[in-house]
Symmetry: C2
Subunit: 99 residues, 2 copies
């Protein structure tokens, strides 16, 4: 499988409502984009210092399926309308694994 | 479960051997630290621009188990001897999920 991991740091003035809306809107995507095989996200649990704010781990059957997700209008809408307005930092990777 | 995600960017002069050694040495840890329930890592597949070099996703039953792993001498040895010498950037998070 191809695993997509993305870590987000939110701007300091991002409200709890804005942060929660990102999770809620992303959470709708597995019902819209069938190429998503697994979609696990969460906010930092506060157990270790120096961490970012929010993470998403998503699995796909292939790189092609990941790209379909990446470019999907519903995904792009979440990025444009909800993520980018509160985004302070982002780090991402895709890697293959035996899942 | 508590999921620990860490993304690494290696220095430009990091050799393939150094990068591979990090993966090999980390791969020994599940056999040494029983608190590790799942341990999936990989290097960037090159399917999308702007990504980091290497990722690790690890699952633990609790925050206490994660901290045992974080502080374990065998883990700290990999960080000191193999990761830090080629480390250019690091981003991490721990979050709870229903796994």
């Amino acid at each position: 499988m191809l695993r997509h991991v993305v870590l987000f740091t939110w701007s300091e003035d991002a409200t709890e409502e804005q942060r929660a809306t990102v999770a809620a809107k992303l959470g709708e995507l597995p019902g819209i984009i069938p190429q998503i095989k697994s979609y696990v996200m969460g906010k930092d649990a506060g157990v270790s210092p120096g961490t970012v704010d929010f993470a998403l781990v998503a699995d796909f059957d292939s790189a092609e399926d990941f790209l379909t997700y990446r470019n999907h209008p519903a995904h792009q809408a979440v990025i444009t309308e909800h993520i980018n307005p509160i985004l302070a930092g982002r780090s991402a990777i895709q890697y293959t694994w035996q899942g």
